[in-house]
């Protein structure tokens, strides 16, 4: 017992370390004084090199140039200098707009970062997706699929052990899955960084890749998942009260982790989608976690098997209701209005998933209506058939989880619908309880644009302020904030001559100077086609 608590202590210690690393503060001290070329400038020819001039020596951590065709060029090795960083550009740069995203550590070790755009010859759009290593996507898919399977058959199976005692072989299988899950969480964390920066697999261990990945919402998800797998493994190895508590904790952490990121959790309204994702995943974990232990127990004709089957059939209607209700909610939000977008890859995957789901539900219903009662009554043939049916369920569910892992690569129709409108100004609201800003981006597409900002107070009356700062970033792609100072007066402010190199979901942070000593920051998103 004491030994276990020591281990739990170590695990918590590691978790604390983990958190400290995650929360590594981004206090900024070094400042960028000027750059050559200046941001948003159009050059006649390739300047050969870029210069960033800081007020104190800095150590470059990441230096990525995103070309008009979307490829990310790592220029960290081409960067030299301390107070004045010089970045040697490749010779063969095509005409178009480039985005330089940099990250550097100041003397006191704290990282700062920003992005700037410059164009050679003419201003163009940059492609939204960086073309990285072709192996990253399939590996990412495999990692995600492994993660889902490990959640269901590792953490899920462990959690079912709290409903009915697990046969020893089921415990062994759950341990294997939980270990796979831990590895998959770490692997996908690295792949997320590679994918975001468009880097090859060989860069899997490089610090910028990990820093980028940890900065994305998936970074937190993967870290919490890894923690859940570790806790579950500890719980499986120690079959006492402390172990049981760890297993329950991991079964709560796992769905929570998935609710923290992903397409579905990112959809508005998040008050609705995040709990829906949590319920969906929790319901699925309970259901799928029961399958392996039940299939094993039914091979024997024991009282333990009967008890487990009886408890499972009593609880499963609630889990299925949670899965279906939350599933319908999420699909409705994600699909948006009926239309051609429903035929997008996202829609096709959803349709295939629903079809397989119908089969699974059919089997489940058949098991429940026809097989469970006779099996409990001890009919050997029925028990065998129930076992076969559960094995078939496991196969179908594995296919479904594989399909779901593919969703990572398809934007949902709600996002495509936003992308379909062209060139009209795009509006975005950024607000908190005291301040509302209406942003109008014209034209509403990637490329040169200007942004008008109208400020209102909580009563919708114009709000006069002393200054406005706008920062645009894409943390998912490792793009550091592009800061812009708005010009204007009172409640109307404007950012002119801005180049938005590509579309996608930009994070907008608006810092408003209300008076000499008072400022407020509001954050929102801007979906640009």
């Amino acid at each position: 017992m004491a030994h276990l608590w020591r281990r739990v202590g170590s695990a918590l210690g590691f978790a604390w370390l983990f958190l400290l690393v995650l929360c590594a503060p981004a206090w900024a001290h070094a400042q960028l004084l000027e750059s050559e070329p200046v941001a948003d400038s159009i050059l006649l020819t390739n300047p050969g090199e870029l210069r960033l001039h800081f007020n104190e020596p800095v150590t470059p951590l990441a230096m990525a140039l995103i070309a008009p065709d979307g490829t990310a060029i790592d220029l960290l090795s081409a960067t030299s200098g301390g107070e004045k960083l010089t970045i040697v550009l490749p010779q063969d740069l095509a005409d178009g707009s480039y985005l330089l995203s940099w990250r550097a550590a100041s003397i006191d070790g704290h990282p700062i970062g920003a992005s700037m755009v410059f164009s050679i010859g003419a201003v163009t759009q940059t492609q939204a997706a960086p073309s990285g290593d072709p192996l990253v996507a399939p590996l990412f898919w495999a990692g995600k699929a492994a993660l889902f399977l490990a959640l269901a058959f590792g953490i899920g199976t462990a959690a079912f052990g709290r409903v009915a005692p697990l046969p020893p072989r089921a415990i062994a299988i759950a341990q294997v899955f939980v270990l796979i899950g831990f590895c998959a969480a770490v692997l996908t964390l690295s792949l997320q960084g590679l994918d975001a920066l468009g880097q090859p697999l060989t860069a899997a261990l490089s610090p910028p890749v990990w820093a980028t990945s940890l900065g994305t919402s998936y970074g937190i998800t993967a870290c919490v998942l890894a923690l859940a797998f570790l806790l579950s493994l500890l719980g499986l190895r120690h079959r006492n009260q402390a172990g049981a508590a760890l297993i329950i904790l991991s079964a709560i952490l796992a769905p929570l982790a998935l609710a923290l990121s992903g397409h579905a959790s990112a959809a508005a309204p998040q008050v609705l989608t995040r709990p829906a994702v949590f319920l969906h995943v929790a319901g699925i974990l309970f259901w799928l976690g029961a399958l392996i232990p039940l299939a094993m127990l039914l091979a024997t004709n024991s009282d333990a098997a009967d008890a487990a089957l009886r408890r499972f059939s009593r609880a499963i209607p609630m889990a299925v209701a949670a899965i279906i209700l939350s599933g319908i909610t999420l699909a409705t939000v994600q699909l948006g209005q009926p239309g051609s977008a429903w035929l997008s890859p996202y829609g096709v995957i959803l349709a295939a998933k629903l079809l397989l789901l119908l089969l699974v539900f059919g089997l489940a219903l058949y098991n429940r209506r026809r097989l469970t009662a006779p099996a409990l009554a001890g009919e050997a043939a029925m028990r065998r058939r129930l076992r076969c049916s559960i094995l078939a369920e496991i196969v179908l569910v594995t296919l479904i989880l594989g399909l779901v892992a593919g969703w990572r690569f398809t934007p949902p129709p709600r996002a495509l619908a936003v992308a379909a409108t062209v060139a009209e100004p795009i509006f975005a609201h950024v607000m908190d309880d005291r301040l509302m800003a209406m942003l109008s981006i014209s034209p509403g597409q990637a490329g040169p644009a200007s942004i008008t900002i109208d400020l209102m107070d909580a009563d919708m009356a114009p709000l006069a302020v002393q200054g406005v700062q706008l920062a645009l970033s894409q943390p998912e792609r490792g793009i550091e904030p592009m800061a812009q100072t708005a010009i204007g007066a009172d409640s109307t402010w404007q950012v002119n001559g801005l180049t938005l190199p590509f579309g996608g979901s930009w994070t907008v942070i608006l810092t408003v100077r209300l008076s000499a000593f008072e400022q407020r920051s509001v954050t929102g998103t801007l979906d640009l086609p």
Binding site: F14, L17, A26
Partner: protein, 173 residues
Amino acid sequence: MIRTFVRAAVAVATLAALSLPTFAHATLEVQEAKIGSTYKAVLRVPHGCGTEATNTVRIQIPEGFFNVKPMPKAGWKLETVTGPYTGSYDNHGTTVTEGVKEIVWSEGNLPNEFYDEFVFRGTFAGTLEPGKFYFPSIQQCANGEEAWIDVTGSETAEMPAPSLTLVEGEAHH
């Protein structure tokens, strides 16, 4: 063995995470005070605006810090902005309803390469709640400013206002 290592690593990382940040911000020298106590504030200004020299330092005195007296500084003009307080405070039997709301040291010259401290004192009202107390401060230079006015308490704030932590004090004397 492993346990010792883990403990050491946790201790070192915690220490590093907690102790590093006070390096290049405008900060207060004493980071904690008792509610109801007199406090000598020393504002440390570590650098200018970018490379420019600081000419003016303005400190806002929030409600609840009364009986404020700034310390004059050679080479700087010292002024205060006074006004009525929202509440009233007890200064050794005298009721105080107005006082200093802003301190301004101006017409000085603090080059970016140098460091300086700006001192004032006052009393924390007994009615204040425990927690963070901020003194929003602005450095003004010839062509710009550094506004240390972020009071969100966010770990990632770029320019946090100088702050200290108020703790429960003993009963009034």
